[in-house]
């Protein structure tokens, strides 16, 4: 187990290093660097060059990357934003919480809705109810979440005036972004729960419990559901890492002060240190969520042997 953990952590470290290097490489060689973006179109070539050397953009690439990573790991220093000069570590730190909040609430909604729908559909496979629920999940997987967000804003904010159009700060600001973000995850969880409930229903221990005379409600709650929840749990964890990394559109629509919006804005500004900082925050976060999910899966399901993976 500890060997497995060590191997996974090592793999994570390598992935983070490779990804950060590739991102650094990609963003550094982007046409039109930060100096040009910052100084405006009217500046002369000498002025751009002067600013470049002032910002240390003219050092060789491996040297810059090594310096960057050493500072990031030893001092937690991710550099300064090229646009407003703020410390990137602070910028990223203050954006992580809103993103995590949104992702966790969205995951909660996805879990509850997906579980309910999945169990409902699996209670009578092949029925009209099942068809309807599965049709719904097919829709949920296919609609663009940001389109749903626009429609929800149109209905609940602009027509009914129940909820704010965008912003951050209160519960009511959280509802629309969380629902639109949760939609694909809910559909996935529903499909997964449906198929695993249907399968567990055919297991020998369920037949035994039914033969014993257990009522269907108890059978579902105590035997079928706990056993079919393990794959769903894994799915939810995966969703979480997806939500953290994939919320940029929803955050942009709702002006949610999260990492995604920070990244998108930084890309438009060619603000390399901020983009790098965001990548360095998101990637280890997603990878650790994945690892935790795998460990949890192993802890919940003794049939999983991590050494075999």
């Amino acid at each position: 187990m500890s060997w497995y953990l060590l191997r996974r952590l090592g793999g994570m470290l390598v992935t983070v290093l490779v990804v950060s290097f590739v991102a650094y490489l990609a963003l550094t060689f982007a046409p039109g660097d930060a100096a040009e973006a910052l100084i405006g179109e009217n500046a002369s070539t000498e002025q751009v060059a002067a600013l470049r050397s002032q910002m240390h953009l003219d050092a060789p690439l491996p040297e810059r990357y090594a310096g960057y990573m050493v500072a990031a790991i030893t001092k937690g220093d991710l550099g300064h934003s090229l646009v407003n000069g703020r410390n990137v570590t602070d910028l990223v730190a203050e954006r992580i919480l809103p993103t995590l909040l949104l992702a966790l609430v969205a995951m909660g909604i996805a879990t509850v809705a997906g579980l309910g729908l999945g169990v409902l559909a699996a209670s009578r496979p092949g029925s009209h109810l099942d068809l309807l629920a599965m049709g719904g999940t097919a829709m949920g997987l296919a609609v663009p979440p940001y389109w749903v967000a626009l429609l929800l804003v149109m209905l609940f904010s602009l027509r009914l005036h129940w909820l704010p159009v965008f912003g951050y700060g209160s519960m009511s600001h959280l509802i629309l972004p969380a629902i639109s973000l949760a939609l694909p995850g809910a559909a996935m969880v529903a499909r997964l729960v449906r198929s695993s409930v249907i399968e567990v229903k055919r297991a020998d221990f369920v037949r035994t419990a039914a033969a014993k005379g257990l009522n269907p409600r108890q059978l579902m709650l105590r035997h079928i559901l706990p056993n079919s929840l393990i794959p769903a749990l894994t799915m939810m964890g995966l969703n979480l890492s997806h939500l953290i990394g994939g919320a940029f559109v929803i955050e942009t629509i709702f002006a949610w002060p999260g990492l995604g919006r920070l990244t998108v804005q930084a890309i438009f500004d060619r603000d390399l240190p901020v983009v790098m900082g965001a990548v360095l925050a998101v990637v280890p976060l997603c990878l650790s969520v994945n690892l935790i999910v795998d460990l949890l899966h192993g802890a919940l399901d003794p049939r999983v042997r991590h050494e075999a993976i």
Partner: protein, 375 residues
């Protein structure tokens, strides 16, 4: 045999495969690959064509939806009297009406013809980006799965890491590197999809090359190329076809979301995501601007997903029949990868019945690594 004639033979084999597939779909007497459940509907609608529909309803519904969008877009472009970028100064922000069925935008452009033009952009995005992933994934996957060894180990580790990152993040960094345009977006989406194809091709190739038919070919003296492309590849085509259809939907969704925030197709282009981004500024006054492009998008992606589901039902009888989800699967080798790639929506765990225990219905659960996030 020369390289060219080999390619030609591979193309012929692929064409034949597609031809058989279409024949299977159309012929009323087609051999049924999926053992069909008897249902009440058999007696009511005893016609052979309807039976075919019952076998893989998703396939037909998906095809119908995609055809609906494609034919609708074609008709709109042919019959509509306004060009997609034709500005009508006197008819700005008109609601849907007889003259403009989808209304007009703030510059007075007809939204119907813009959405229709967007359908062709969508087709371009989906087809080209998935073609990039397909070609790269098939070549790398075939080589890694066939030769195994340390190259396989190395490429597989890279692909695992790649797959564990949120796909949108990868696409964002690539677009940020290359600049925001439709072509760069397509390239980024293509890159993003490589690991999914790589994994399914690599894992199924690994299994297929140990099959008796591959061993027989090797014993007969066929060289690696011949075994790889003439014996192994045709036999792993089914999951690849299914994945292709699924990935097209994913590519469209991710691509349009990047266009929506301005990192893809740029405004004058009637890409659906860009159209919705324009509509976002007129949510309170012109609801139609955001509604119709999204509707077209949803129709297309539902169609592609259903097509994938249906193809899986038809091509991969092992995964069972009821709506194609959650039935037991049995696979002789590498079942984890085979199943997970066939069902990109059901990551987490999967069920399989032992080869020996198929009749007794004995089942075990095999976990999947969480590094296997799909797009």
């Amino acid at each position: 045999m020369t390289r060219q004639s080999e390619l030609k033979a591979a193309a012929l084999a692929m064409a034949w495969r597609c031809h058989s597939l279409v024949r299977l779909m159309l012929s009323p007497q087609a051999p049924c690959p999926v053992p069909r459940k008897r249902s009440a509907a058999d007696n009511r609608w005893g016609t052979p064509a309807w039976n075919n529909f019952l076998r893989a309803p998703a396939l037909y519904l998906g095809t119908a939806l995609i055809a609906l969008v494609a034919i609708g877009a074609l008709l709109a472009l042919l019959l509509c009297s306004y060009a997609p970028d034709q500005i009508l100064p006197n008819s700005r922000l008109l609601p849907p009406g007889p003259d403009h069925p989808f209304g007009t935008d703030a510059l007075g452009r007809d939204l119907l013809s813009r959405v229709a033009a967007g359908a062709w952009l969508a087709a371009r995005i989906a087809v080209v980006s998935v073609a990039i992933s397909l070609v790269a994934g098939v070549i790398l996957g075939s080589l890694a799965g066939y030769y195994t060894g340390w190259t396989d180990q190395m490429v597989s580790r890279v692909m695992d890491g790649w797959l564990s990152l949120p796909g949108a993040l990868v696409a964002i960094v690539i677009v940020a590197r290359l600049g925001a345009s439709l072509d760069n977006l397509i390239l980024a989406l293509g890159f993003m999809g490589v690991p999914a194809f790589y994994r399914i091709v690599r894992n199924t190739t690994l299994g297929a090359r140990r099959m008796p038919y591959a061993e027989a070919a090797i014993a007969l003296g066929a060289n690696d190329h011949r075994v790889m492309w003439h014996h192994v590849f045709p036999n792993i085509l089914s999951p690849v076809v299914v994945l292709t259809s699924m990935r097209m939907g994913t590519a469209l969704l991710t691509g349009s979301s990047l266009s929506f925030i301005g990192l893809g197709a740029q405004p004058p282009m009637p890409e659906w995501g860009a159209l919705m981004a324009t509509g976002r500024n007129y949510l309170d006054s012109a609801w139609w601007l955001a509604l119709f492009p999204g509707l077209a998008m949803t129709c297309t992606v539902v169609g592609l997903n259903l097509l994938g589901d249906g193809l899986r039902d038809l091509l991969d009888p092992r995964t069972g029949q009821s709506l194609g989800y959650g039935e037991a699967v049995s696979a002789e080798t590498e079942p984890v990868a085979a199943r997970s790639a066939l069902e990109p929506l059901q990551t987490g765990s999967l069920s399989m019945s032992h080869v020996s225990g198929r009749q007794s219905g004995q089942r075990t659960t095999i976990p999947m690594k969480s590094t296997e996030i799909q797009g």
